[in-house]
Subunit: 224 residues, 6 copies
């Protein structure tokens, strides 16, 4: 039952690399407000912003053995997505593992568990989005799987899906939709500059988006 | 049932502006240890410190439409206080809305829900205290109300109440009590400098506050 | 029932001072993956790193009186460990108390409750690890005890135990085991430099730790 | 600051007594989906169903003194609504207090804190909806207030408001709206029998409510 | 993006019907300790025990419209599995909907949200496993999908998968594995009677399972 | 580091057996409002009431091996108290283990983790107080210890301490204090009958406990 898939399809890197500039909120909107991991997934330090391709690993509570197994499957530009078979906040990942996966080309880690060596990881500039920060050590005793579909923080992540992560959280984009989502995000942002300028000049969203009429129709009353 | 009150009383701005210097903990103490919003309300970035007058809005889970409605009711020096009709952590507020309410003169947002575009809001220097950080998008479909009394993070906030927010949290002061609380806060702080100096010199609180006798009376025993 | 023990054994300061350099994760591993306080204990600002000797205090919800009592028992190099008789997130500790305990020689506070005056504490460089940040004021009405064994964030802490705290959390080391743990931590770290260099060079943990054989024995399958 | 209001307006008992038959879900709907206390408020035993008039009390964490004060203000048909000035799960209420308030005519207790003596309360048939079950004892040291507006489990409750509680939770109805809500609830239920019969006969809600057209318009696609 | 799949494969009903007798814990073990939904999924009343085939529906917070859509797709012996696009505890399901889906042949509901009309549902003998009990009403405004793969309480559920639910929780079995899991469960239980008899007679698990040797090897010490 | 203490002191059974009649709330009060385990510890079915002597076991997350080891150390009248080295809600205990420990004379289990086979345990009349109900299976791979002091649900429990558990929760009494606590509980209850009678007759606690004067002194105001 424990398997490692060695060859996974990866979407066009040029497309997914472009996601970083858009950011998590825009990508999430651009694909119809789906794909966002639960908001308990927070960066271990502020300011990081990455996108890349998911290599996935399923871990068991308190056991980080399979992180060494997934390390071998990383290609430059990948992001490791670690799911757990049951909720657990132990510190599965620290600076030694970060050194290893970074050397393999990983851009960051998304883990539905705990992370440790925060100070060192920040110094290394290796970003992690995790459910918890915890120094609790783990063992190496139980098999899991690598590059199978997993549920990470409430969302299905398939190996090869695109991942975008920044201070707003983490979003997953199905590999097949990557180009379409990139286009939608670009379209969305092309209008934002003009909108921002208007709003900054004091134009109200009520007027800019023509909300007054529908609000009135639904019965909104103004009282002086 | 959905109403927007356009004219709300606002306490003397000079009084409420003075609250910033005192900070949340002092104001909370000065009004008898009341008015503090639940401690899950955290700033989206550290270091901001504001005070001002509440304009209130009641939102429904997953719907941020009324934030555009409240924008029109903002006067310079106001702080938007957004309550929810049921617990929800979606990202109701981001950089476009921030651009709009900032242009109207708002000093910040207090929201018992989620906030997104953290990086951009920090760059804009527009502070938000929220229950969560989440990129989850919202829709514009349901009416709420503006400038009615709301329950935000466990506390009643009336339109026109004073709000103080800093790294310690958020406190609300009834408009009618603003001057009294300002006086009490000033009185409280006038003694703090002297106390701080004594404590820094090694004087014990036990002696400075004369705690030894009441502690002994209640039965505290020392064992060598 | 409320007692203050004035004389507590303290382990050799030279030994416990050395713990700071190793950090929480290493010390926790070095003593057999025990002693870690619950991961909800977080620093009120990032970057602090301390070790020292525990003076303990048992507080009751909403009452910080005994923090003034414990202040008198502090010796330079101590760390105050405050436990609660029931879960509570009030703001038991702020800048005045910090001024007092710092003047007595305390290096920091570990509190299974709330802390306030965050901005001031950071400016003073007095680190606190707490369950919450809250401006909620407390009263001075109920006796607790000082320098008794307490349960803080799920872990037993005896007066005189060594405490290590950094961005990864907080760990307690039994006084009697301090030297042994120090030796184990040093041994552990002596190997880490070499490991880190190998991993940085791209050597896989699978090979460095010889994991391939045991993984295969347990049935791990690779699929191309 | 601590006051006991002795005379509170109470709505027509005949009206509020009728709420029991409708139940919490119907009353909540009948007043426009408002007034529901947070779902963490659960009955201490299943099957109880009450309605009545709120007498309110504000307690402080770990202190149940004011429950004796509110007892005197109870009139037959009242329900005690106890709010807390900060979150706390101690066991504020047990069989002795229940004996007292029951003798005064109270129909039940709604408390945003803990309750104990569960077995005895069930035997006495005195229902309680609480945030927690806890044997943790409380003290009698701090003043609160009686019959002031309170925030209980996220909802504002004014003295004299109507309360309805059953296995689904707890809802509050503003005294002034009681008759209107009673009428709306009755109207709502008058249609339910017919609907229930149709649905039981296999008619789909899609057809009964004419949902097919709006669903199609919004773009719902069927795939075989 | 909102679709209803009308034809879904269903595993052999005779096989999945047999799961009820084994119960959730045994089925979960028999398929290698996988498939268990998060333990926050609790029955709304004790004692129910069902198995059947999943028809799935994805709902949005506060909107139960799609439950009417999924009703049409139910075949006798199905269990409705309702997932949410974001965490929410509103009362999506009550006695009218229960009447409808029961008339269509549904055996129960698994919902990662709230449920209401508990008393009525128990009287109807229609079991529900939910994340919460809440009377909070929902609206009918947003499209979701029916019979797509969903993540419910942390687990992927595909339409047509087998579901087993009892007082221990809820487990999902991939349709393709149903027969294999049934066989493994039967094998597992065939040994349990004998084991139970031995243990009831006072034989220790230490001896029956031959644990003494491996425990000793790992270093377990006995001290008198 | 993993040890099993075979001989533990047990307090006089006659004394601890008497605790059942008093119940958890009274025993907790009788020993000065200490010893109560966290209120998240709930009985898996209502109505059970036990007292006895603690045999303790420290488990690791997801591993129930040591429950077989502790089984051998049980004497008739004991209650197994299982602590965890890190928070975890897996189902460590089910009907087979219950059969074994019951055969050894255990009266119940207190476990700071999950429990399964709820229906069977109720049928067997073997009560469990747990942090969660979960069918999640566990493995048998890691050593823990038996009859060492543990922290269970926030409270220190030493082997041989007295345990009382009922629908209100779980309380621990230090073995050395058992007689003293029994006396205090008896004294406490001897007054309760009279008090209950008075309160049932409508006498107010305000008068019975003479609270009016101290309340007035502290400043409580009555307003008509």
């Amino acid at each position: 039952m424990s398997v490692v898939y060695r060859n996974i399809p990866r979407p066009d890197r040029a497309v997914t690399d472009g996601f970083t500039a858009h950011g998590v909120a825009t990508i999430h909107e651009a694909q119809g407000r789906t794909g966002l991991l639960a908001p308990y997934m927070r960066p271990i330090y502020p300011g990081a912003k990455i996108s890349g391709t998911a290599v996935t690993v399923l871990l068991h509570p308190g056991d980080n053995w399979m992180l060494h197994v997934v390390a071998e499957q990383i290609k430059p530009g990948d992001i490791v997505v670690a799911a757990l078979s049951a909720p657990n906040t132990d510190g599965f990942f620290g600076d030694l593992l970060a050194t290893s996966v970074k050397a393999r080309g990983a851009r960051g880690l998304i883990i539905d568990g705990g992370c440790r060596d925060i100070t060192e990881l920040k110094a290394m500039d290796f970003p992690v989005w995790s459910r918890a920060i915890s120094a609790k050590g783990t063992i190496k005793a139980t098999l899991g799987s690598v590059n199978i579909p997993v549920v990470c923080a409430g969302m299905i992540v398939n190996p090869g899906d695109a991942i975008v992560a920044d201070d707003d959280g983490v979003v997953v984009v199905n590999a097949a939709d990557a180009q379409k989502v990139a286009d939608a995000a670009a379209a969305r942002e092309s209008f934002e500059g003009e909108k921002r300028a208007k709003l900054a000049a004091g134009v109200l969203g009520l007027d800019m988006y023509k909300f007054r009429e529908p609000l009135e129709k639904l019965g909104l009353k103004y009282i002086d």
